[in-house]
Symmetry: C2
Subunit: 681 residues, 2 copies
């Protein structure tokens, strides 16, 4: 037997769906040596996941990808609820706003998975110079994984050994995939895993195998996750499967139903439908299939055809007419919710996305929670690989994301049950689901479903007090010794994502979403809300704080920035030769803009000098009036007092880790906070 | 001698700068058989023109290109004026808004010519299926042009014969171009035309010539236009050349000057500078070179070096310091203004852009007026080529654009004189230019410099009365027999561009810039402002009008739409098999949205049915409230009464051609207006 080729890599990602691609993008932006493999021949072309929650759009925008989704996606702004009247005919029982206005600059949107996968691939390619760019290796399947447990605590070791098999195109193409329309079930949870089949077929040929030694391996390989199965029995997912079967169709509808371009929930006596209006004049219908029941065992798949599903839809729409000429995709699935107890093994092999939590698709959560899993993991694994963060940080991944997965399956179980339930005939009908009850459940879940409600626990990364009864255990992790003063910035909630509001660039009067100055490039941030620095005493306070920063910052690590690191820089793009600090400092003041001279009034730490590029004109922002647009109201929206100000400390993923005063006390808390994170003292 | 290859084309464009590319994009979107040739080996990579006026951005946005410029360009929002104080030191004498707030959703922006040329090329490529896509043929030079005058009035003839010579790369590369920094003058108006050189060199080799027979030829070949020279002496440009020489440098400045990121005009005792902050931390400086004088003849080019120009800049900036490490581009030019009497020969060969008007670059007009020339010409030549419009329409090009060229050189002459003048010492200094005088001239010219002030004359295309004393002659063109009622839509000015305001899509509550529903795809538009159609009588009025439209529209031509024809369609993209009418109908009502049922209340002409795609949900819009954004105030902003409404007729370039009531009277005026344009009766 010939020796297999061997190589080393920092991170090996298994699976190039949304979770794997988000992780690959993070690592590409950080310049971490990464490989990403996928068993499929190509990305998804139609159907599959399609819902983008507002937090996902914010995250994608932090990589410069959000605007592409935002342009092409269909936005769901309002929602209709339809119910049967006493004669059984459906009527519009309510129409209202879909998500929560003011929560984000984005709203819930819909675009098929293939497009976002394409956007990820483009963004990964643009992260670095073309010769360095990361590429997805397709038709590659892992066949073994071993961890050298003696080396897991050695930061420089590559203790995970994976064997990869490179398939031919024929081997990697499942026979069901020859036409999407021929069998819409092949990727559904009604279908079996096909990896065994693929490996079986590849055995018959001369396999081209290789061995990869990785610092870290991340399984983003979906509900049938090979990585999860390989890690052993304690990684098995647990949960329930119901007997509710739903069909899904993406069609261009021909109908007289008046709300076809609104997100709509129909409860009729023939079953329920959710309407998701999409891009390219299409509409996705989630259709309850009351006539097939899973019962105790498996569903008879041959019963479930597009025709069968569509006939069910027509019955529910009645008396409105529904036809179609064009169907883009269809599938069916069985409702169930499952999650695992462990998200990592020894903090060397991790699971993300469907590999650790599965649920029904109707609430549009799957792709979002999956991408947000690896968004949480990416910067941690990346900065640890680069030696900037200690390995201990990695334990925060499971701590932070397991809670979300649990919330997700709880929400999905409840929501699915309400949606699949029989509509109540009237107020006395106790076993039916009333329209009010359903609407209420929908609206109260919005903070969760938008992804904005995520609230991470206190750890070294988030300097806050644990709320009573919410301590989910720290996996042996320490807490930050820093103390925050939440009251200084009431809408910058510790553990939650820092919201985006508009601010005005001091140097050229351009209005910016503050998020656009906080791209995902691995840097922590101190946003110094300096208050009214046209007042001498406040200016002194802010400049004294600047003088301290100038002294303190050199004690922190630096980070190399790649070409893609600042996708919204526009007129200020120009990467310096010098690696900047891992901590970026921004000043947002509330003084009248014309009273402030950027170079003369403000400490140079807020407009750093570069010998080749001159002063940095992109770090100081004002609140207040502009000539062309509505005034910025940043202080009010962030809940910050204009006379006192506040310093808000952000993690590289934009979550608030510290709120502290612009003062000596603040300096001490910042030292404690970063001290706990970087462990440099 | 071997026979030369011959071929036919509808339109041959000579020159692939901004004017030529804009024309090529129009013709690509219309599916007109076009070739575009350029003598250069490649597009511009740095420097050259850079200013985008708001109207240009609107036009680019109508092709889906605007947002790319808007994202990358630097926006110039405020402007500073600096003057010498009594001791000669410069001080900020004023700081104010740059253009006019509320005029457009865009503001004046700056991005180098190479980027916009690249965006044009991408958009041209995306106009049609890849195999049909138009491409620029580079290193091609015309050597002869003849018009068969006997065939010019035959709509199907190809009466223009052009010989094209295909050069080798070596022949096409001017020696000066080896480095931009080595000789910044090579494209300046201080340099000689190099076409003669190129042809001389190509003679030495075996020339590869071909003959092209075209319906139309457009010379977009710049200030040294070969096309213009070939058309004969009566096409010569006339005007004046001053002795003022200015230098230009694109640098990343290292300076303590406080307004370096604002558009700034400095008048000092050592000369004048205009600061144009740009993309990528660069700044363009226009620097008066007082020490070189053109006098009566040519300037000594060897004197003008980057070092010489920069030293002049440093003197003017004093006492502020100015240095640079990085220079992207430099040049110098002599101020002068010239324009031609004729913009076309027999309406078969046209001139556009610098080929018919040249002036100084400081006001950021050149690229804009050039692009707007060919934006005016493109749909006319395209729809005439396709047989949709009669040839007579072509005469409106010279009528409409010659006036703009004249206004441009008048403006430039005045502005340049003021800018190159000596600053006044004090209010008694009558020969100097006072700061007040300069600022006033700057602000009063803004309607012109934004491009929004353009006001086309009455012709068949614009049904309005001629203002007294403004009739520039009609070139034998008829006027429209339709009469407009301007008072019905006071801010939709006849002959001016229809402004964009926000409206809410009835079918899904999404807020849109109305411009995004008026892409440049060759279609005329009737925007029916239907008023409050929740009132039965007004609804009847609008639906009666719809019934008439349904009857009238089939009398009009149809147009085939290509894949790129609707760049902002987003969720509504899906091109039908059937060619739609050349006239697109949109309904904007002012009723409360929730009182209107799109399918039930509104005549189907406002939501046309397609047998494969169902109803069109993208044609009816409302004014008023939304959940997520500021309310739309379209009626107020368009100056339209909510009870009566109005119909606004738009040309394919978005200029208002008719304002008429939603009534039988309106129907008659519409018939007259389109009757005069299409000559179908």
């Amino acid at each position: 037997m010939t020796e297999l080729p061997e190589s080393e890599v920092d991170v090996l990602i298994i699976g190039a769906g949304p979770a794997g691609l988000m992780l690959a993008l993070w690592l590409a932006r950080l310049g971490v040596k990464t490989r990403i493999v996928d068993k499929r021949t190509d990305k998804v072309y139609s159907g599959q996941a399609d819902g983008f929650q507002v937090r996902s759009l914010e995250i994608l925008d932090s990589f410069g990808v959000g605007e592409r989704v935002w342009k092409e996606a269909n936005r769901m702004l309002e929602i209709s609820f339809w119910n049967p009247d006493s004669s059984g005919a459906i009527f519009r029982s309510a129409h209202s706003v879909n998500t929560i206005p003011g929560l984000s600059r984005f709203t819930e949107s819909v675009l098929h998975q293939g497009r976002i996968e394409g956007f990820f691939l483009d963004a990964i390619r643009d992260s670095d110079t073309p010769d360095q760019a990361l590429r997805v290796e397709r038709m590659v399947i892992p066949t073994s994984l071993e961890i050298d447990e003696s080396a897991v605590e050695d930061a420089d070791a590559h203790p995970v050994t994976v064997t990869l098999r490179h398939l031919t195109e024929e081997e990697a193409t499942p026979t069901q995939m020859l036409s999407n329309l021929a069998d819409g079930i092949f990727r559904s949870n009604l279908a079996d895993d096909d990896v065994g089949d693929i490996l079986e077929r590849s055995k018959a040929r001369e396999a081209r195998d290789e061995i990869v030694r990785a610092k870290y391996v991340v399984g983003c390989d979906g509900a049938h996750s090979w990585t999860r199965k390989t890690l052993g029995k304690e990684f098995e997912m647990k949960g329930e499967t119901t007997d509710a079967i739903w069909g899904v169709m993406d069609i261009v509808p021909i109908t007289d139903f008046p709300d076809i371009r609104f997100r709509t929930m129909i409860h009729s006596t023939s079953g329920a439908i959710m309407i998701i209006p999409r891009e390219n004049r299409m509409v996705r219908l989630y259709i309850q299939l009351k006539e097939v029941s899973a019962g105790s065992g498996r569903v008879d798949r041959s019963q479930i055809t597009p025709d069968f599903i569509f006939k069910s839809a027509q019955k529910i729409f009645s008396p409105y007419k529904l036809e179609y000429h064009y169907c883009d995709w269809w599938t069916a699935y069985q409702i169930g919710q499952r999650t695992g107890d462990h998200f990592s093994k020894l903090d060397r092999v991790f699971l993300a996305g469907d590999a650790v939590h599965t649920h029904s698709p109707k609430a549009g959560q799957g792709m979002n929670v999956s991408m947000q899993d690896s968004y949480n993991l990416g910067w941690k694994i990346g900065l640890v690989s680069k030696g900037i963060l200690p390995r201990e940080i990695l334990s925060t991944y499971e701590l932070e994301r397991k809670k979300i997965a649990k919330d997700l399956i709880d929400f999905d179980g409840k929501f699915s049950k309400l949606f699949s339930g029989r509509p109540a005939k009237d107020i006395m009908d106790e076993t039916g689901v009333s329209s009010d009850e359903f609407q209420k459940a929908f609206h109260t879940s919005r903070m969760f479903t938008t992804g904005v409600g995520v609230n991470y626990e206190p750890t070294v990364l988030v300097a806050k007090e644990a709320e009573e009864g919410t301590d989910h255990g720290l996996n042996g992790l320490k807490r930050s010794t820093a103390k925050s003063t939440q009251s200084l910035a009431t809408n910058c909630k510790l553990g939650q994502r820092f919201p985006s509001h508009k601010v005005i660039r001091q140097s050229d009067a351009r209005l910016w979403e503050l998020h656009h100055k906080l791209p995902s490039n691995g840097r922590f941030r101190l946003v110094v809300f300096g208050g009214d620095i046209s007042q001498q005493s406040q200016r002194d306070t802010v400049n004294n704080f600047g003088a301290w920063l100038k002294f303190y910052m050199p004690k922190l690590p630096t980070i190399k920035l790649l070409p893609g690191s600042d996708p919204h820089s526009g007129s200020m793009k120009f990467i310096t030769d010098e690696d900047p600090s891992i901590v970026d400092v921004l000043l947002v003041h509330s003084a009248p803009r014309d009273k402030i001279d950027l170079l003369g009034d403000v400490h140079e730490v807020y407009h750093p000098f570069d010998p080749k590029l001159g002063w940095d004109y992109d770090k100081v922002f004002a609140d207040g009036e502009t000539y062309y647009e509505e005034p910025a109201r940043a202080y009010e929206k962030y809940g910050i007092d204009k006379s006192k100000g506040a310093v808000v400390g952000l993690r590289p993923d934009g979550y608030v880790g510290l709120v502290t005063p612009v003062s000596e006390e603040g300096q001490q808390e910042i030292e404690k906070w970063f001290g706990g994170i970087f462990q440099h003292e």
